[in-house]
Amino acid sequence: LSEALRNTKTEWYAIPAALGIGVVGFTQIRKNSSKASEYESGGDRPEREKQIRPMGSWQVQIMSTIPLKLISYYWGRFNEIPLPVFMRAPGFKLYSWFFGVNLDEVAEPLESYRNLAEFFYRQLKPGCRPIDPRPNSVVSPADGKVLQFGEVRSGGMVEQVKGMTYSLDALLGTQGSIHSEGESPNAAALVKKKLEGKGVEPGQTTARSGKGGDSDPDAAVYQAEEEFANVNGISYTLPSLLSGAPKDTKRANSGDVSVPGTASDSLEVGREIAKGTASSWFANPDKRLFFAVIYLAPGDYHRFHSPVSWVVERRRHFAGELYSVSPWLQSRLKDLFVLNERVVLLGRWRHGMFSMTPVGATNVGSIRIHFDRELRTNTLTHNATKADEQGGFAEATYKGASALLGGYPITKGSEMGGFNLG
C-alpha cells in the first residue's frame, strides 16, 4: 500500500454530479441524526422543546419500517376505482355479509354507490339512530364497541385498563399551550365581557326566569328570554347558549325558560361563568375529567356525530402513523393512540372542556370534518409547517364560525364528519 501510494501519479478529474449529491445527502443525514441525538439527550433546550415525542415500543419500531401510510393511501385509491353497475350490488352484499353490515339501514340503493369507498362512507336512513333525549347525557359519537371508559386521574394519565395507558398531553397536546396563547377568549370570558358591557360587576349578576319587573334593576340587566347571541341566524338566550339549544325551543306561552336541562342549572353555570370561576379547561375544582374510547369495526357506520351540544374552538391535526387500531393490537402496544394520525377537536360544553378525537388506522386513514374544509389527512406529501415543528401538530381555530362563541357551535347528534377508506 505504501509503495502504491508512493509510486502512483496523481491525476485530477471532475467527480460525477451524482457523487456530489450523495456527499451532500450524507452530510445532511449526519447533521439531522446529531441534532436528534442532541434532542434525545435533553441538554439545555427550552421547556417547550422538551415536549413529548412518543417513540413507542420495539414492536412499534419494527412496524414503523412498514410504509403504512403509503399502503393506506393506495388502498384508498384502489377503493375509489368505479365498479361496473352489475358488480355493485353483489359486491356490496358480499362485503356486508362478511363484515356484518345491516343493509336495511343503508340510505341509498346499492347500485348508487360507485365504488367501495362510497359504500363505506354510506349514510343511514333517517331515524335509524335515535339520539338519547335526556339533555344531560353524553351519547356515543359512532357505532362501535366501548373499549375503555373511566376517569382521568391526576397527572393527566388516562386510566390504565388492559395495558392501555397514555398521557393526555401526548394525546391532545398540552393544555398550557391553549392558555398561554390566550388568543381565543373562551365562552366564559365572552359571557363575562358581554355582561360587564351592561355595567354589571362579576358576582353581581342575577337572572330571572319569567319576566323581571322593572323595579328590579338587576333584572333589567338580563331577561331570561332576551336574545344573547345570534349564530348563523339561530338566536340563543344565555340558558340556551349554555345548553346548546336555540332560543326557539322555548315554550312561548309559559314565558319561562324551558330549554333542555334544568334552567336553574344553566343559569347557575351562567352565574359562575360571569363570576369567572369556570375559566380553566382542565382544572375546574368541582369537576372531573372523564374519557371514553369507541372502536369502529370495518362493517360499522363510519360517520361520527356530536356526543353533546358544544362549541368546537380549535382542532389539532397530529399527522402520525397509521397503525392498525384493532383491539388486539391496542391491548399489546402501549401508547398506540398517541402515535397514530388523529384530529383532536377541542372546545367547551356546559360543564367545561370537551374534546373529541377521531383516530385514523391503516385501512381508514382519512378523517373528514364537515366544517373544516382545509383539513387534509393521510396525504402522501406532508409539508411540515412551523406549527408541526412546535408541537407535532397543525392547529387551526374555528373562531370565524362565530366570533362571540369563539368557535363552531354544534348540537348533540348532528353529523360532524367521518372516516374514509385509505
Binding site: 351519547v139 356515543s140 362501535g144 372523564f290 374519557f291 374510547v293 369507541i294 356525530h305 381508514v364
Partner: protein
C-alpha cells in the same frame, strides 16, 4: 378506526343520594353501542 372522548363533567358525589348530580357512565366495557345511545349522564 377509533373515537376518543375526553371531557370535563361534574364530579359524582359518592356520599350523596342516588341521582344527586355528577357524571356517571351507563355502559359496560366491551359493550356494542349505536350512535346516539347514551354513554353516560350527569
Amino acid at each position: 378506526s377509533t373515537v376518543v372522548l375526553v371531557f370535563e363533567a361534574p364530579a359524582s358525589n359518592p356520599n350523596g343520594p342516588p341521582g344527586s348530580g355528577g357524571f356517571r357512565f351507563c355502559v359496560e366495557r366491551g359493550q356494542t353501542v349505536k350512535m346516539g345511545e347514551a354513554l353516560g349522564i350527569v
